[in-house]
């Protein structure tokens, strides 16, 4: 083949007109994309966008009907053709650690992959040692895989995928279900490994905020690619401005804005509005005009993120389901009696010598949205089980909806609504049948049930879908049905365990619209867990859990303010050699140094001094510095900073 080598090597992956059907159902259609050698290419989209089908087809483990896929210039059109490139490829399927062998130890898992891939025995030890050291798994080589944490499973999966030194790796949602600290760690390790060997990567994710990790990406929705390119270029596809403001009364402000602007939502105490095709100044004028007469605070323009762009793109391509969430006026439901909805005092739960929840104390008032965030295994689910009367606490006290959880677990169950992480609807029943069933389970009086069901169906935008089967509904609408079922008996408190997992951004926004309405208008107290950090911004208060304890409990803005006071400003450094620069800056002692695509994030007490310092450090090594810009910290920054500090404290002990 040498003599015919083209001047520019073929791209790692070239996909043209790709389409995949399951039976009659088209999962993906008309996808074109090209992954260049050495780049990290992202596929971003919600569940059901068609990411997995595309990735499997690229990895040669799924046959497809339409279009063509070439890998390193070889056309993958048959099983035999796919076999020819598999030696140069690594594939990690979706599901945290699911492709690993739970009974085998870390080392045995790696050895199996190495032998399966025919890695020469002489090289196995050296490669393994290096990868284990980089992923810091070297202390756990003898531990069975089933006893690893989520983050460790994910890193082990990566090691197993890389052990045969492939030229291209295809990773299907490697970060789903992993806490933010482990996610950042994963991206840092991945970037380093890939750069060192010049490996190309095709990676999918459902988290819009991971877009910065990719050189280029494709946004997917409903089996189609909405846009492809560099993150900035995709954002530029939807010109407009994003405004944030606080307005009083918030519900009325939002109603007025939504009457003329399609993309607006409330985020905690603030409103976030996307104004199409408008420069920031013009946008501020437009919004101020709409809200004449209301009290406004802190109205300012901010940079649109990828999620804003995604929603705007969908809107422009008319792929958005019409806004049908009706908003019944206030006065529906009883006025709040006891203002305190949930009171937890030193709640503790032990399992066989293991403390799952350790002295958790907090208060949730009626009308509050209270968020609970933390890694898998931090104790969130156990805490919710105690609060909902499913699990008695080992120690401590709690009152939920005015009932003592030690003595009145049954009364609690009658006064709250609960949707579990697992899908709890009956898929073969229609929307209406599900609602009627829950009304009967909760003992809603027969004569009142019909009216109440109509109410909740209207509130959650299910009107017109009553006859559809629950199992046939799209995920986002199914989650709204679950919410409707949980509300059918007019609970004063709602417990929602990861209700928006895998739902697309528009579906999540609509879900939050309903929650905000419930809290603000009907004074329902809502306790919610989520692993979308962007979503945590919606909460009035946020409790951060780590190792069974609540380590922070404040409004999001206060958490960010505390981070600023403790760690300093968040600076974004843009350079031409980010990895080398990152190592230097870490050596120089900057806190929280992390890589985001081509940018480096770090904390500095004083932005001016730090900027000068960075300039001297990088100039000394001949690294070009494009810019140093301060950025507002995100809740993910807060989470990572807090947890990392705690983990370092634990290690010192």
């Amino acid at each position: 083949m040498g003599e015919a080598a083209p001047l520019t090597p073929a791209p790692a992956v070239r996909v043209q007109g790709f389409g995949k059907r399951y039976r009659r159902q088209a999962a993906v259609a008309g996808v074109d994309l090209e992954v260049r050698r050495g780049e990290i290419y992202g596929l971003i989209g919600p569940d059901g966008a068609g990411k997995s089908s595309l990735m499997k087809a690229v990895a040669g483990v799924l046959a497809f009907e339409e279009g063509s896929i070439e890998m390193f210039g070889i056309r993958i059109d048959s099983e035999a053709a796919a076999e020819r490139v598999k030696g140069r490829l690594g594939f990690m399927p979706q599901g945290l650690g699911l492709n690993l062998y739970p009974e085998l130890s870390v080392e045995e898992n790696i050895d199996f992959f190495a032998r399966l891939r025919g890695v020469p025995a002489a090289e196995i030890a050296a490669r393994k040692a290096k990868l284990l050291a980089m992923t810091r798994l070297d202390r756990f080589t003898g531990r069975p895989m089933k006893h690893l944490s989520g983050g460790m499973k994910q890193k082990l999966g990566l090691v197993c995928t890389l052990i045969h030194e492939p030229e291209l790796i295809v990773l299907d949602e490697p970060t789903t279900g992993v806490d933010p600290v482990s996610r950042r760690d994963f991206w840092a390790i991945l970037a380093e490994l890939l750069r060192e060997k010049g490996i190309t990567a095709l990676i999918s994710t459902a988290y819009m905020d991971e877009a910065e990790r990719f050189h280029r990406l494709s946004l997917m929705h409903g089996g189609r690619v909405l846009a492809s390119g560099e993150p900035d270029a995709i954002r530029a596809r939807t010109p407009g401005s994003v405004l944030e403001l606080e307005a009083e009364p918030q519900v009325e402000a939002l109603d007025r804005i939504q009457a003329s602007l399609a993309q607006a939502e409330s985020v905690g105490p603030r409103l976030r509005v996307f104004v199409d095709d408008a420069a920031p100044e013009a946008a501020v004028g437009t919004v101020a005009g709409l809200l004449k007469g209301l009290s406004l605070r802190d109205l300012h323009a901010t940079t649109p993120d990828l999620e804003d762009a995604f929603v705007a793109l969908l809107r422009r391509q008319r792929l958005v389901e019409e806004r049908a969430v009706a908003k019944p006026r206030a006065g529906d439901g009883d006025p709040p009696g006891d203002d305190v909805a949930i009171l937890a005092k030193d709640l503790t739960r032990d399992f066989d010598g293991f403390r799952a929840v350790d002295r958790a104390s907090f208060t949730v008032h009626q009308g509050d949205i209270f968020g609970l965030v933390g890694a898998n295994g931090a104790g969130k689910t156990t805490l919710i089980k105690m609060l909902t009367g499913i699990l008695p606490p080992s120690d401590g006290e709690g009152r939920v909806a005015g009932a003592d959880m030690h003595f009145a677990a049954q009364a609690i169950k009658a006064r709250i609504g609960y949707t579990s992480q697992a899908f709890s609807l009956y898929q073969d029943l229609s929307v209406l049948e599900n609602l009627r069933l829950y009304a009967r389970i909760y003992g809603v009086a027969r004569h009142a049930a019909g009216e109440r069901i109509e109410q909740v169906a209207e509130l959650t935008g299910l009107t017109g879908r009553e006859r559809q089967l629950a199992g046939r509904l799209p995920l986002g609408i199914r989650q709204r049905l679950a919410l409707a079922c949980a509300m059918v008996h007019r609970p004063r408190i709602l417990f929602l365990d990861e209700p928006t997992s895998g739902v697309d951004p528009i579906g999540r926004r609509r879900f939050w619209d309903i929650l905000v309405h419930l809290a603000r208008v009907e004074q329902v107290a809502i306790l919610i867990t989520t692993h979308y950090m962007s979503e945590a911004e919606h909460c009035d208060r946020l409790a951060l859990m780590h190792a069974g304890r609540i380590v922070a409990d404040d409004p999001p803005a206060a958490l960010k303010q505390a981070l600023r006071e403790e760690a300093g400003e968040l600076l974004e450094v843009a350079t031409d050699r980010p990895l080398a620069a990152m190592a230097l800056l870490e050596q120089a002692g900057f806190a929280g140094v992390a890589l985001f695509g081509r940018h480096i994030h770090l904390f500095a007490r004083d932005a001016h001094t730090a900027t000068r310092e960075i300039q001297t450090i990088l100039a000394g090594r001949g690294i070009g510095l494009a810019s140093v810009t301060p950025r507002p910290p995100s809740l993910e920054d807060v989470f990572v900073y807090r947890i990392t500090a705690l983990e370092q404290g634990e290690q010192r002990l």
Partner: protein
Amino acid sequence: MNLARIAALAHKEWREIVRDRLFLALAFVVPAALMLVFGYGLSLDVEHIPFAVVDHDRSALSRDYTHRFIDSRYFDYRGHVKSERELDPLLADSRIRFAIVVPPKFEENLMAGRPAAVQSLIDGTFPFRASTSKGYVIAINAAFNGELLAAYISRRFGVAPERAAALAQPVRVQLRYLYNQELKSTWSIATALVMLVLMVAPPFLTALGVVREKESGSIYNIYASTVTRGEFLAGKLLPYVGISIVNSLILWALATGLFGVPFKGDPLFFFLSSVIYVTCTTGIGLLASLIVRTQVAAMMLTVVMTIIPSVLYSGLLVPIASMDPQGQFEAHLFPAMYFTDIALGSFLKGVGLEQLWGKALALAIYAAVLWLISFALFHKRPRT
């Protein structure tokens, strides 16, 4: 074929099996347990049939007649009742399964040389047991008739009772049971159970082992690697064939040691046939696992594919020769029948390669076909 890769796969599979307690128990405890449960529980001998008597005659002769049933080991006497009407509830509750009604004037009629009709009521809900019971009743009745006749001849012609008995039954049957002299059903059943357990356990294990990888997603490690289809199937199934071979030895030991079945045949031939047989049944599990996606479905399918044909068409319950032509044809389609013949031949008849090579060959062909179909069905780039 890359032997190192096959070894890697087999090694990994073996370690997974050993570490998973539940799976390990399924692999070694369940087959032995099945053998014990069925060996002690499944006896085809029809004995101790509970019965009751209605004796309207209450004569010496009627007592003599009914005592032949009461003293028989095949029947279990539960008492006399006054009338037929009292029999109904007893039969309905299954407290008795057989009843005998002696009419009035039984002795008087017989003595006067007139025939007497005795009514016997048999619970027909289990036809096999009912027809066996009928056989016993006819035999006891015939013996009674024979003795009556002999007594008559003896009295009428003044000959000795032995001579009279010979005259009454000019043709006598001399029975000798071959291979299983005492006609112990345990012997035959324990032997057939080796067949049954080796038909059920290996496919279960195999199907679960393969589908488990499909369910978890670790099958993608195979799809995405350069392992060939043949290497995967060989490496993956080697441990299961190995486990099943060990199980065949354990079952053999249980049959001979615990159930006292003699082993008269060629041990080497029987061992090799067992290896072919478990390769064949493992192949059934493999085939099932390639058709379905979940472990539950795999279990259901293996039940349908193994237990039902091996119970019905192996000669375990009904001899193949006494089936209708269609049944016989179907029996020849399943491997169970061939191995039943090999096992019975090896344990009880003491025959070996010379007589049974055809059956072993049939099993080998069966195994080859199953594995080839599985190979053809297994794709590293499936459509879904």
